[in-house]
């Protein structure tokens, strides 16, 4: 069918080569707010009040942000009178340690610093992913599915989705883990051969926010499965997903340590 062949050739050219080169496709897409602690007015707690998911707490008069609870709603940015909370394009928030999602003025962990130096250690390892929806709003699935569209074309990176957990290296979980999904999720993980990895995909899966509490919520993967990569974002965009996948296979460095984003 020449009609579709021609279309196919055109669509083929749509693929970006990112992260090697080319656009990441996220022009203008807002990420997690940045905290400029120098601008913060001591004793004010408007950001704490503004946050619908309790991602911001006050410790010794200063805000501490848990990006694992952030849904990128930008309300703290709007409500901070000093401009200390600033909107940013920081969305590549995949990290190996849950604690790295918590903002702290202290210096970064040794492991992350090490990772940051190590780029493209191996381009060979391929990855097979099994996805499980443990109660998402479906925006996370929508972004994960986008990885297979001609623009991101995940296959070019040697990363594939597989229907069977038996062939999967990575379990990608979305949603806060609702009660009926708890055992189903564990059974899927059990069915995977070792070594197996787990990615908490989206803020819901990282912490449950904003779907924790309530009679049918869940608190994400903490204490349920051993998580290798925590990726908050509501939803994490396709480039953030690619970054987190390449972080897992040590082909890209971690960007965030102690809640701070490397330039």
């Amino acid at each position: 069918m020449p009609l579709w062949t021609w279309t196919g050739l055109k669509a083929g050219k749509a693929a970006t080569r990112w992260p090697q080169s080319g656009p990441d496709g996220q022009e203008g897409v807002l990420g997690m707010p940045r905290l400029d602690i120098a601008a913060c007015r001591s004793g004010c707690d408007l950001c704490v009040e503004s946050c619908p998911t309790q991602a911001i707490h006050q410790v010794d008069g200063e805000p501490v942000i848990d990006y694992g609870r952030c849904i990128v709603c930008q309300r703290c940015v709007e409500e901070c009178p000093e401009g200390a909370m600033q909107s940013s394009y920081d969305w590549a928030f995949g990290v190996r340690q849950r604690s790295d999602l918590i903002w702290s003025a202290a210096l970064e962990s040794a492991e992350a610093a090490d990772l940051r130096k190590r780029i493209a250690a191996s381009q060979r390892r391929s990855l097979h992913i099994r996805h499980v929806d443990a109660g998402s709003c479906n925006a996370c699935e929508s972004e994960i599915s986008a990885l297979d569209n001609p623009f991101y074309n995940l296959h070019r990176l040697g990363i594939f989705f597989t229907p069977s957990p038996r062939f999967a290296d990575l379990l990608m979980v979305t949603g806060p883990v609702t009660a009926p999904m708890h055992d189903v999720l564990l059974a899927t993980w059990e069915a995977m051969p070792e070594p197996r990895s787990v990615m908490a995909t989206g803020t819901c899966a990282v912490s449950g926010a904003p779907m924790d509490e309530g009679y049918a919520g869940g608190s994400g993967l903490e204490g349920i499965l051993p998580v290798d990569i925590w990726l908050p974002g509501c939803p994490p965009n396709p480039a953030a997903l690619i970054h987190a996948l390449l972080l897992l296979v040590e082909r890209m460095p971690q960007k965030v340590t102690g809640g701070q984003y490397a330039q």
């Binding site: 196919g8 022009e27 998402s136």
Partner: protein
Amino acid sequence: MNMHSPMNNCSIRSVTAGQLAAVAQECLDQQMRFLMAWHDWEGQQCVVRYLLSQKDNPEFVLLELRGTDTIPSLAALVPLLGWYEREMQDLGGLHFTGHPEPFPLIIHEGFSIPQPPLGINGSSGHLSGLYQPPTMPEVQGDQVQDLYWGPVRADVVETGEFHYSYIGEAILHYHPRLFFKHRGMEARFAGQDAQRSVYLAERVSGVGSACHALAYCQAVENAWGIEVPPRAQLLRVILVELERLYNHFHYFGQLSKTTTLKVGAATGFLMEEKVKQLAGELTGSRYLRSLLRVGGLRRDLQAEHLAHALEPIIDEGEAYLDRLQQTATHLDRLMGTGVLSPSAAFDQGATGPVARASGLDRDLRRDHPYAAYHKLRFNVPVRQKGDAMARSDVRGEALREAIALLVQASGRLKAGPVHAEFDVPGGAQQGLGWAETPRGTLIYAVRIEDGRLQRVKIKSPSFSNWRVFPLTVHGTNMMDYAINEASFGLTIAGCDR
């Protein structure tokens, strides 16, 4: 108006349990259509409400039944109410007598909760339990095979468990078990600040974020009597039509995938991506989140040049739809597949493109205008055959209409404020907000007291269409199942809530 807090755009009629069936019949005779039913506990008093639309009249009709939690089921007379009644039984602690399918719906067999979470005493405790197979009609026969598929299926899809009884290729019975993803969204709103809960509405169904935010905001604006400024109304149209556009491109990608038209699938998904990238650039969010607020928009958007930015998408989208129209191998699989008759569509509550493909000419944007739709011109495509082909045709035309609306709306933008100033009123109010989403009728009903939400009911289009879909599967064959499902364009998150 009545002595309780009134709901705008509605004429309210009080009924007793004894009158209910007769009044329902009367409404049907006047060609009204039931849209949804929900319960509320106002203090210790149980209230059940039935919302109906009238023919050629933008005013809704609301039947209100107060003071009893044991109510005769209307499901035999108005089948679409069957699921709403079961939901009220599971979550509200109500009883519907004479229900033809009195089984659990939201809370699965094997699961329980200490008290009904939307019951007289409010929510406490957590859902827990162990998997048990669903209640199912018994299908007997020598060669009948049973297949349970899910809840984790192939591919990146939402969670649901599908049960098929079949002989060879022929499906005798099909039953989707949903609500694995039930997050108790309606209860989450309760007690929250009505002004600040848009973020919850945005997360009920991710690919409908903008429509959910809009319907929610309109419900609160309706309750508080807020006039949204014209610029914000047009920008709201732009946001929800962008949402429609990426959803419809996704639909054609998915449909092509099931007819094994690989390039057609890739093209649809690429077009979807282009619209999302445009949305990201215009608004900061690929899902058009964090933009709406009660009273208008949180910030202004520079959408004046949208038509220009859309040009490549318009040309490629047009060429894409034309190519699909010329691909016999694709169309052959759609023709005659999954037929939904007009009467089944009406009785069982089909909505959106699914309903319009079965001859029901309804669209909230035209019939009950909101935002700036009354100022804009657009067509509502309708087909009669009710097969996958008709559903796909309706979506195709709706995609073109969405583009036309985006061009029109952006061309009419004039400088001005993007949100209204208002004071949050004290006391009790109720409001209704709605939107025609890419999948059909979405309605929010809210009850507020002193600025805090007391009850929020969400009627999502997929809750309606999931009920209808199995009717088109019984008696068809396994080979066509995936195509038929894709032709409905369902989501599960919105249905499960």
